[in-house]
Each structure stands twice: as structure tokens, then as C-alpha cells.
Amino acid sequence: MARRRTYTVAMVSDYFFPQPGGVESHIYQLSSKLIDRGHKVIIITHAYDDRKGVRYLTNGVKVYHVPFFVIYRQTTFPTVFSFFPVFRNICIRERIEIVHGHGSLSSLCHEAILHARTMGLRTVFTDHSLFGFADAASILTNKLLKFILSDVDHSICVSHTCKENTVLRASLDPLMVSVIPNAIVAESFRPRNYRSSPRAGANGFQPDPPARPLAPHEMITIVVISRLFYNKGTDLLTAAIPRILEEHPNTRFLIAGSGPNAIDLEQMIETNVLQDRVQMLGPIRHEEVRDVMTRGHIYLHPSLTEAFGTVIVEAASCGLYVVCTQVGGIPEVLPSHMTTFAKPEEDDVVAATGKAITAMRAGQVRTEKFHDQVKKMYSWSNVALRTERVYDGITGTISEEDFYGFDIGGYNGSRIRDFTLIDRLKRYYGCGIWAGKLFCLCVAIDYLFFLFLEWWFPRENIDVCPDWPRKPSADEGSSSVDGDAKRASSRA
């Protein structure tokens, strides 16, 4: 078999360490695993406080912190062109082939994709969130997304619901959108008393120990870890907790997280005198999540919208039975024996939690097996493998028929996005009556700007930086590399 082609990839997003969060860890883990597979990955983000310039993270992940003006929640100010000189410089220095942007609210990512197309690079965009279509903010964001994605080579979404949403929002060809889920570092989310090889018996075919039902007087702890915002369903939680506790003696709640709706919870606790049964831990760091989770039996996730819901995977991996609302991409994430679904209604959340408590008490749920099952379902190596296929597809390593195989003949017979300016303009022009013309204007100016930069800072004068020594590309499906991630998160 021929040697696999490797790429130099630039991940661009506003959201990266030191800020915690789902997108941030996604970028880091994916980059790290891609490096393990022999690719070269750099990350471009904006400067966080004094964290400017170039940094190296574990596993040779190189991070460029570009000084940029941050307006709101670590999102940079959307200037259409100002990122181009720096970005071009970085791309030439690092000999970038593929620009991979993350996060549909990140203006840095949008700019990078636009400029990358102008420079003739392949682009991928990963969408991590869901948006509605009704309110003004969504309409603006959707238009912007349409602008960016009308010329992107391929998009990645974290769930099928997210894919449907993105396809609708940006009017994309569904075949040009892949679904690659998030993953977790299973080693960081082991249940308590977890033995790494439960079947280390004499012959390896030891029968499973029988399920141990909980005694009726044994305390069942229900864990909630979420930012306490409206869209995380804190209102539902506030309404449901007193009723759950009233109906089920010997249960208690453990709530971690902070946010504007924390005050409602506290008020509820005081009004109902539940101080001894509801414990609020306040904000916790991501490293502590596992320790909090393993203190409980059931994880309650009352969110109102969720693209993927990594936290319920983490909870299941910690051996918790998951009760969650059936919204967004959540129904796709976990198998039914690990979850009880509820409608986003107070009564249904109470009923579902009651069912879960009963099932736990009856010993019907084999939570001790969850960890191994989840480990098989989600791993970052798998995500990297699947992302690599996307890279293969857009760069032409896999032929177009193989990549888009089962439905050939998309746009004018080809889904390969060529770089001719006139073709690009055609794609942008279709974005809307007024928006299309505006976008074309932006792209044309961007192109002129590019020509100007080529003349002002010639390519020859930009140094090419030496690469971090690449690893010999790992074998397919090797899972031994998972351990690196844990070490990595400690070092900045």
C-alpha cells in the first residue's frame, strides 16, 4: 500500500486554551491526534491576555496567538480584511495546505477561510453549535455563515441534527457536509473503583458479576454539571428538583456550575428548605468534572438545546445513568440502555428521573459496564481518522467518486471547488439579492488585497520555519495514543 499522504493543517478559531470549553478541547484533541497520524498541525487563535506570539503545547502543537481586539465572550471584532497580512505570513511560513476553521461565531475563523480561499488553499469548517432561524441574531449569523460556507471545500458537523441545521442555514449540498462526532478522553473519565481489565480471570471468560440492586434506604445522588443559563434548562431543573426530592426519599442532588440562573436554584433551595439534600458546588474546572461525577449515580441533563452534548458522554463514561431532555443532537449520542429521555417539560423530567431512580434501585442498569462501552464508541483517534478522510477527499487524494461516491454530479458535475476568481464570485453571487453583490465585492477586494500583499511582501522574503519533527504515522486504529491527551491538558 502506498504511503499515506500527510498534510499541513492550520486550525483557526477564536476559541482556544487557556479558555475552557468544548470547542477548545475539540481543537486541541483533534490536532494532537492528527499529529500522531503524521500530519503537521498548527493552531491560530487570538491573544489571550499576555499569551501572545507562538507557543508550543504537548505533542508539538504549535499555537499562534495573534493580537486581536476581543469584543464579546472571546470573539474578535469582525474586520473583514485586517487578519489577512498576518494570516498570509503564517500560512507561507508554515507551508499550510489546509485551513480548518472551527465555530460559527468565530470571526477569526470566517476571515481565515475567506483569505485561505483567496490564497488558493483548501478549507474545512467545523460547526459546533445549533442556531434557530427566527431571531435577528440568528438571521445575521446565518447570512454570514452562508457567505463563508458558499466557497468552503467541506464542512464537518458534530451531529446529524447539527448537519441538518448547517445545511439549511448555509444552503449547502448535504454531501459536502460530514458528520464527525466529538469524543472524550475515556481515560480521564473512569468510574470509581474501575479495574482496567475486568476480565482478568483465569480463562478470560469469567461471567459477569450479577447486578447489585441498591437497597431502598441507600442514598441515590443525582449529579448536574452545567453552566446555569436559561438555554441549559436551569428553569426546568429549578422546577423539577423539589418534586423529585419530595417523591423520592433517600435521594440528593449535587449541582456544579455557575451562571446567572444560580440565584433561582438557591432561592428554590431556601424556599423548600432543601439545604441538606441539594448541594451546590459552584464553578468547577474541567479536570474536576470526573471527581464530581463519580460521586453520583444518575446524571441529569435538562438542557434545552445541544448540538452534541459531550457532557452526557462523559457522565456515561463515569458510569452514571443519564437522564436527559430529548433536544438537538442528544438522542443520537448514547444508546438507549444508558439513557432515559424526557420531553423538555417539568412533569416529564420528574417522571423520567423517577423512572431512572426506580431502575437504579432495582438494579436493572448495569452502569459498571458503561465505561468500556463508551470507550469503544468515542475516541479522538477515530475522530482524527475520519477528519483525515475529509482532508483526503478535498485535496483529491481520494477521488471524487469515492468521496462523494453514491451521488455523482453535484454542482455542474463536480464538487471540487476550484480557485478561479470568476467561479468563486459565481458561488458568492448566489447568496442573496443584496448580500450576494456585497459578498462579491468583499471577495474582489480581498483578491486585490492579496495581489497587493504579494507585491509588498513578496513570498520569497518570508522565511519558512522548520517543522517540529514529525512522527512516523501511526497505524490505523491504534488506540495506544489516547494516553497522551491527559498529559497534554496539564501543560500550556
Binding site: 442556531f131 441534527t161 449540498d173 460530514s178 438545546t305 443520537e332 417539568e346 478522510r389 469515492d402 461516491g405
Partner: protein, 572 residues
């Protein structure tokens, strides 16, 4: 894509042909037990592998190759069961038969009928119609095969695709399942088409408000031009306000009589009992949670007109005083509350107590006392407002002396525009202090306008008049609309005519300074015409615009949580 062409892409050549064959032989026939004729078909002649699906029969969705599904469709004839038949081979390339395919009914061309959208609908231009016919699927099939052989290896048949992420599927990541993709999408799920006349009727609210604003401006112009004595304006309007208040009182008391008379006493008592201790309160609240559900709609509907707390006509001053008087009432006879709570929390509590029936009620009937207190409060607060305004008028007079009149006209214009645009037109009778931005803008406009006037009397009159027009009149209008339809129409006509007349009188005046009635009448006619054209035209336009409505809903929208006893936490 697979389910759609599963007829054509069958590994065996026969089913398609035999399907057509069976179609020709069966469709439109009546099944008969024994004989085959021109209109009947014998059941025994059907192939061995078959099933006959009657209307409303429960069927399993498993697929067995070479089985013929015969579907009955009733055509309601009197004497015999005349069935149209649809032949349908049931076939799959999935042994495990996990996820049922959508039924391939030849009779209904299914997708659009079932509300499912194909991904093609997401594109603006119709690039292609790849899944429409057999030819396209035939074209795609060799590729499909090759892809499968790349990935699947020796497996000849694949499992069906599932919309799940935790299973490893043998489909590529960008696979798009034609059957389920965008299956949960809804378009215009809550669209209620408008009717013309109800729309016109509803638009009278806007018309009334615009007209009352115009009348206010006209009155200011009269005062400013010294054509009308400000005292006469304010006394007329105050008289009207008092009359309106009596009418309102009458309506409210009449509505109270329609309700259960004991409910008021009960709820007041509950407030008092519930407040006496936190333990007791908790128990009552818990009781209210359980029992509330059936009662709730009733009690919320009953609550606003029952007028336990401040009636909606009063401005904030009144509200505060009424509030304090209620708390005086409760704390006089009872021990003070054991828990300290903020006033807002307390009122919230009282709301919640209102809706819960209590067992331990001392029987007394405070309804009359309550009404009396209420009226007293209203009188008190109106006296307070009156004297405050009187005291403030000299200050208001010189408020904007250093500002040029042009700025004042522009400013008050914009403030009145804000008033009109932010007014709460949808508010029902029970709405308390709706659209504070709108009311405040109007009061500010009247203040700056009043500051242009030379004498204290004029300033006082105009400000008082503005409070009556912008603060109290909307409440009265709401009640009028609630009470009777004819009154509402009459009020609208009156306001339109009044506004027209006023504008007519303001824009043209006789040389000797008298009233130019001709111009006034012309103004009335024009205003009526404008009102008719405006309401009718805008309603017609709005109905015409409905066809552009395209609201998309789906699983990605944030869910709207349904919380039973929400008013405990926020009163909104």
C-alpha cells in the same frame, strides 16, 4: 437514497416486472373468494407469498423478498366492498430488518405528501433531480456498488443507516439518508391565516391610540395659540376621566358579581394565614403545587378583575400606597412575618397563595371593605398627583427655557413617535402598567411641550391632561374593547372624527381669530377617509404578505420548557 430505489435496484430482475404485471392485474379490482372476472379477482390466484392489508390494519414493517403486499382502499359503495388495490412488492436488502424503511406505496407518491423534505429543498436553485427517476438511480448504482465493496468487504448487504452516532456504521461520514434527512423539519407550524374583517377590527386599537395622540397635540396647539382656555380643557377632560372611572368601577363590580363571591374572601384570608409562618407557608405551597393544576387557568383568569391589589388605572404612586395599605391590613391583626422577605417576594407569595385553596379560613367577608379601601386609595393618589403637579408646574415652566423651540418640536415629535411605536397594543384588560417606555416617552413629550407654555396654569393643565390621555385613557380603552364591540367602534369613530376636526381647526383659522368650521369638517372627512384607507389597506397588505412567510422549525431550535408552577419564581 436506498429506500427510494429499492424497487429498481433489487438484485433479482423479476420483482419489477412481476410488480407491473400484478399492478395491471389487480388495481381497481375487487377481491373475491372464488372466481376471477372483469371486476373481480380471486384470492387464490395471488402468489403464495402475499399479505392483504385492509384499511387501518396494523402491519409489521418487516420486509420479505418476493412477498406481494396488497393494499385495500375503500370506496364507499353501498352494496359491496369495492376495493381498489395497490400491489406492492415488499423487498429489502437488509436481513436484520432493524429500521423500517418508509413504505414504498405506489399509490401515493409519498415524500411530499408525508411532509418530508429532500435535501434538494435546501438548495436555492434546482441543480438536478437525481432521485426522481429510475434512470438517475441506475446511473448512480455502479458507483454505489464500488464504494460498498471498498468499505464493506465481503458483506453483500448493508445494514440500514441510522441517525445515531454511537454505532459504527459502514456508511461514509457525508452519507445523507434520503428518508430521514430533514425529516423533523416543520414549515410554518403555527401559521394562522388572517381574515380581513377581524384584522380591521383589531387595527382599531392602533387607530384609537394614534387619534388620541393627535388630539393631545391639537389641544396643545390650541393652548399654545391662546385659542382655548387651558382650564376648560383640563376640566372637560377631568370630568370625562371621573365619568370613565365610574363606568370602569361599574364594569369591574359587575364582573366581580359574575364570579364566585366567596373566592375573594378566601384568597385574602389565605394571604394572611400563609404569611404567618414559613413552615406553614411551605406546606400550603406544596399543597398548591399539587392541587393547582386544574384550578390554575380559572384562577389566573379570575385574578385581574378581582382587584385585590392596585387597580390598573392607578399610576405607580398609587400602586405603592395600595401596597403599603394591604400590608398594614395584614400586619395589624396578625403577628409580623417571621421570615424577612423583600416586598416583591412578598407580593409574589401573595399571588401564589391566591391560587391555593386553604382549609383554615376564618369566615369574614372583606370584599366590601377592600373595595372601599381601594377607592379611598385611588382618591388619595389622585389628590397626590394633583398637588404634586401643582407644585411642580412652576419648575416645569422654566425647564427648557435655554433650549430653542425648534429642538423642542423635534424632540417631542420623536418622543410621540416612540410612544406610538412602543405602545402595548396587545395588552388585555389585566395588563398592569404596560409599555412603560411608551408611557414615559409620552409624558416626557408632554413635559417638554408644557415647558414652552408661558403661564403656570397652562403648564399644569397640559401636564394633567397628558397624564389623563396617556396614562388613564389607554386603560379605559382596553376595558371598552373588552366590554362591548359596539362601544369600541363608537369610541373609534368619535376619536377619528375628533382628531380630524381638531387638525382641521388648527391648520386653518379665520382672520379674526374665530373657528373655521368649514376646515374642521373637511378635516373630519379627510380623517375618516384616511382611517378607512389606512386600516383597510394595511390589513389587505398584511394578508397579502402572508404568502412570504416561511418559518422553519426543527430539532435544532431551543426547546420551550413547559413549567407548571412558574409564577412562583418570576411573576411575568
Amino acid at each position: 437514497m436506498k429506500p427510494r430505489n429499492s424497487v429498481g435496484s433489487s438484485p433479482l430482475a423479476s420483482p419489477k416486472n412481476s410488480l407491473e404485471d400484478w399492478e395491471n392485474r389487480l388495481i381497481g379490482k375487487t377481491l373475491h373468494a372464488t372466481d376471477t372476472g372483469p371486476t373481480t379477482f380471486c384470492i387464490k390466484d395471488l402468489p403464495g407469498e402475499r399479505r392483504i392489508i385492509k384499511p387501518n390494519d396494523a402491519t409489521t414493517e418487516d420486509y420479505i423478498e418476493e412477498r406481494l403486499n396488497v393494499t385495500h382502499h375503500h370506496h364507499h359503495h353501498q352494496h359491496n366492498e369495492k376495493d381498489a388495490l395497490t400491489a406492492m412488492p415488499s423487498h429489502t436488502d437488509d436481513d436484520e430488518s432493524e429500521t423500517p424503511f418508509p413504505t414504498l406505496d405506489l399509490h401515493v407518491s409519498s415524500r411530499l405528501a408525508s411532509g418530508l423534505l429532500s435535501p434538494d429543498d435546501a438548495f436555492p436553485p434546482p441543480h438536478r433531480a437525481p432521485y426522481a427517476g429510475d434512470s438517475a438511480s441506475e446511473l448512480g448504482r455502479p458507483r454505489l456498488r464500488r464504494l460498498h465493496s471498498d468499505q464493506g468487504g465481503s458483506r453483500r448487504r448493508k445494514r440500514s443507516w441510522k441517525k445515531l452516532m454511537w454505532v459504527k456504521q459502514s456508511y461514509p461520514d457525508n452519507y445523507t439518508d434520503q428518508a430521514t434527512f430533514l425529516g423533523d423539519l416543520q414549515r410554518n407550524p403555527r401559521l394562522k391565516p388572517y381574515d380581513f374583517w377581524p384584522l380591521v377590527a383589531d387595527s382599531t386599537v392602533i387607530l384609537q391610540h394614534v387619534c388620541s395622540v393627535i388630539i393631545f397635540v391639537v389641544c396643545f396647539a390650541f393652548i399654545f395659540q391662546d385659542r382655548v382656555s387651558p382650564v376648560s380643557i383640563v376640566s372637560w377632560s377631568s370630568g370625562a376621566t371621573v365619568a370613565g372611572w365610574f363606568v370602569w368601577e361599574y364594569w369591574v363590580s359587575r364582573e366581580d358579581q359574575n364570579e364566585d363571591p366567596s373566592s375573594l374572601g378566601t384568597s385574602v384570608a389565605t394571604v394572611v394565614v400563609g404569611r404567618s409562618g414559613s413552615l406553614n407557608r411551605r406546606r400550603t405551597r406544596a399543597a398548591s403545587i399539587r392541587r393547582q393544576t386544574p384550578l390554575r387557568s380559572e384562577s389566573t383568569a379570575r385574578y385581574p378583575p378581582s382587584g385585590l391589589s392596585a387597580p390598573p388605572t392607578k399610576l405607580s404612586l398609587t400602586d405603592v400606597s395600595a401596597n403599603s395599605s394591604t400590608s398594614n391590613l395584614s400586619s395589624a391583626g396578625r403577628p409580623p412575618p417571621t421570615t424577612v422577605s423583600t416586598p416583591s417576594l412578598r407580593t409574589r407569595l401573595s399571588h401564589e397563595m391566591l391560587s391555593s385553596p386553604s382549609e383554615t379560613i376564618p369566615p369574614f367577608n372583606p370584599g366590601e371593605i377592600n373595595h372601599f379601601h381601594e377607592r379611598l386609595g385611588t382618591l388619595k393618589s389622585s389628590a397626590l398627583i394633583y398637588s404634586t403637579l401643582l407644585g411642580l408646574s412652576p419648575i416645569l415652566k422654566s425647564l427648557t427655557r435655554s433650549t430653542s423651540s425648534d429642538s423642542i418640536w423635534a424632540m417631542s415629535f420623536w418622543l410621540l413617535v416612540i410612544n406610538i411605536f412602543f405602545f402595548d397594543y396587545s395588552g388585555g384588560v389585566g395588563a398592569k402598567f404596560p409599555a412603560s417606555l411608551s408611557t414615559n416617552a409620552a409624558l416626557m413629550a408632554s413635559t417638554v411641550l408644557a415647558s414652552r407654555l408661558p403661564s403656570t396654569t397652562q403648564v399644569f393643565s397640559l401636564t394633567l391632561f397628558s397624564i389623563e390621555v396617556f396614562g388613564l385613557f389607554p386603560v379605559f380603552r382596553r376595558h371598552v374593547r373588552h366590554q362591548s364591540w359596539q362601544l369600541n367602534v363608537a369610541l373609534t369613530i368619535l376619536l377619528v372624527l375628533g382628531a380630524g376636526l381638531g387638525v382641521g381647526l388648527v391648520v386653518r383659522q379665520r382672520e379674526d381669530g374665530g373657528w373655521n368650521w368649514t376646515s374642521g369638517i373637511v378635516g373630519m372627512v379627510i380623517s375618516v377617509l384616511l382611517a378607512v384607507v389606512g386600516t383597510g389597506g394595511c390589513s389587505w397588505w398584511l394578508i397579502g404578505l402572508q404568502k412570504y412567510k416561511n418559518e422553519i422549525r426543527g430539532p435544532w431550535d431551543p426547546a420551550r420548557p413547559i413549567i407548571m408552577n412558574r409564577q412562583r419564581w418570576d411573576d411575568k
